[in-house]
Amino acid sequence: MAAGGYMTGIFGSSPVKPMQQHMARVLACVSELIPLFEAVFREDWDSVAASQQKISTLEKEADVLKKELRMQLPKGLFMPVSRQDLLEVLTMQDKIANRAKDIAGVIVGRHMVFPAIIHDNYKKYVRRCVDACEQANRAINELDELVGTGFSGQEIKLVVEMIQKLDAIESDTDSWQADIRLQLFAVEKELPPVDVMFLYEIIEWTGDVADRAQRVGSRLQLMLAR
């Protein structure tokens, strides 16, 4: 036998660590939205561009991790969770970063200015969306412990609680979104219509970040329910 023989061959490379690394990268990418929006509200376009660069780099790194992980998940791999579920969680994680990149891209491209009246609420809104990603990251970080316990009771309970909290955070972001839309609606007639269209779009996309983080949670939950 070649050094090691086929006993070593039976242990495939675990997808758990790479999943967690990918999510950590996504979180880093999304977190950059906070300084980005602060710079936008200050109308400090150099800082905005710098943040956008950072987001774009992190998103690319996450993309690379995603592709690497996909490559190491051949069909013959036998895992405690279904390959399909795992890949769906991964895709969803990646989509969070994509959304952050979209937001940063449009803001930089159009030098978007936000009406002062929504600044305070928008900061809280973005903060909450990042919170959702942090919570999703926390849940994904339990993957190794889940395998450690062989997916049994106590640990599952813990993760399910995390996912419930994630749902709660996401519904917070929904109400922030509604508030901000209302505030914007009150002043929209005074603004150039095209800008307003894009403002609504950015509001929507920011909400998407939390929404997709929540979907990571629900995919994770599906993965556990076997």
Binding site: G5, F78, T149, G150
Partner: protein
């Protein structure tokens, strides 16, 4: 008869050399697979693993290796047909040893996953079929052996699934896994001691003059298990909760408790491997020695001489010391996903299955059994990722190894026959 008288010493030396070569190969390659789960789960350092392997492989070979040796020696080839020409049996046994050894060497060079057991059985069947005739193969017994190659990984898988499931429900899946681990791990140790002692006493020790009835055997096995349990209690009791290794449910600490258990099961695995696999090397040697020493009497009811078992054990340790260290190091560094709680379940299941087979005299593949056991833990959702292509490779190695061993041994058989007559 003349041939045996005039070339007796040559045959003995050849058998000794080929047997030692084969045992060396087993020690160099196979042992690493047997120890893989222990080293991979980081319960043992490489040095400790080698030491344990050396001691327990030898003990297994010496104490419980007799039964399988008998099968290899006279269970596959029907010696009764060869009463008239005992030298054929000698050529055959030598050819089989050489064939298996050479095939293993070729396979090692190319990294093919072949089994020592399959090589030697294939070689024996090959020479008997062609060199002597279809009737010379005890097809019934060979059928049993082949069936056991299917059954042993399945059984090991079933056992490891059950073991890991019990670990989940008794320890991992509770509110206080650390203390439950300390509470239940000694019982698993009892199980290890009991099973190994039971099979060894039941089947293995006749040749060193220990013969017990079933009741005594059970009592001794219970005592052995009890001693293990007490020792386990002592060592487990010394493990204190380390809060710095704490996550939510102290799993890092739980695994430390399982490390103690893993060390015990590693010993059991080395013992089991020695008891089963050493026969592949020394079975044919024993056959040659028995014919030569009885002056050509094929069906002589001679007991297995000690020194042959010693030869096998020594060869394994030699292989381990010269080359096996490196293989174990490679294995240990490439299996990182295995934790002691998994490694223990897989190893104990495999060791029990192998020891059981040894007691019954069935030569099985330790590695295939271990692969089955690992898959069993995987089925209980205990592994992060297992490569199922290995299962396919195992089937491929079956299909290739049996005829390859057979063909080579036919070749060597006729060569030897040509040289000596």
């Amino acid at each position: 008869m003349d041939i045996i008288v005039s070339y007796g010493a040559v045959f003995l030396i050849l058998a000794g050399v080929f047997g030692l070569f084969m045992a060396w190969g087993i020690g160099a390659n196979d042992v690493a697979n047997a120890m893989a789960t222990s080293v991979g789960s980081r319960a043992l350092t490489i040095k400790q693993a080698i030491l344990i392997a050396a001691v327990f492989e030898f003990a297994g070979a010496f104490l419980a290796g007799g039964q399988v040796t008998r099968t290899i020696r006279k269970g596959i080839v029907d010696a009764d047909l060869l009463v008239a020409s005992p030298e054929l049996l000698i050529y055959g046994m030598l050819a089989a040893l050489l064939a298996a050894g050479v095939w293993l060497l070729i396979a090692s060079r190319n990294g093919w996953p072949v089994s020592t057991t399959h090589s030697i059985v294939g070689a024996l069947v090959g020479f008997a079929m062609v060199g002597v005739g279809m009737d010379a193969v005890k097809w019934g017994k060979v059928g049993y052996i082949i069936a056991s190659w299917v059954v042993s990984p399945l059984l090991a898988g079933l056992l490891s699934y059950g073991l890991f499931r019990s670990v989940q429900s008794l320890i991992l899946n509770t509110d206080d896994p650390f203390n439950n681990a300390k509470k239940y791990v000694p019982y698993y140790m009892f199980l290890v001691g009991f099973i190994i002692a039971l099979v060894t006493f039941l089947k293995g020790l006749k040749h060193i003059g220990l013969e017990n009835n079933t009741f005594e055997t059970f009592v001794y096995a219970l005592i052995a298990g009890g001693v293990m349990m007490l020792a386990g209690k002592y060592f487990v009791g010394r493990i204190k909760l380390d809060p710095s290794a704490d996550k939510d449910f102290h799993y890092a600490n739980v695994e430390r408790v399982f490390s103690v258990l893993m060390i015990v099961t590693a010993c059991a695995m080395a013992f089991a491997h020695g008891s089963n696999d050493v026969a592949n090397a020394i079975g044919p040697v024993a056959a040659v020695v028995s014919i030569v020493s009885s002056g050509g009497e094929v069906a002589a009811k001679s007991a297995l001489p000690y020194w042959i078992l010693l030869l096998g054990g020594a060869g394994i340790v030699l292989g381990l010391a010269t080359y096996g260290r490196r293989v174990i190091a490679t294995v240990g560094n490439s299996i990182t996903e295995l934790t002691p709680s998994r490694g223990f379940a897989a190893t104990l299941a495999a060791a029990s299955t192998v020891v059981l087979a040894s007691g019954t005299g069935l030569p099985i593949s330790t590695t295939h059994t271990l692969v089955g056991a690992v898959l069993g833990v995987g089925l209980a959702r205990g592994m992060e990722a297992l490569n199922l292509t290995v299962v396919r490779n195992i089937f491929m190695s079956w299909i290739v190894t049996l005829p390859a061993g057979g063909l080579l041994s036919i070749l060597f058989f006729f060569t030897l026959k040509g040289i000596f007559s």
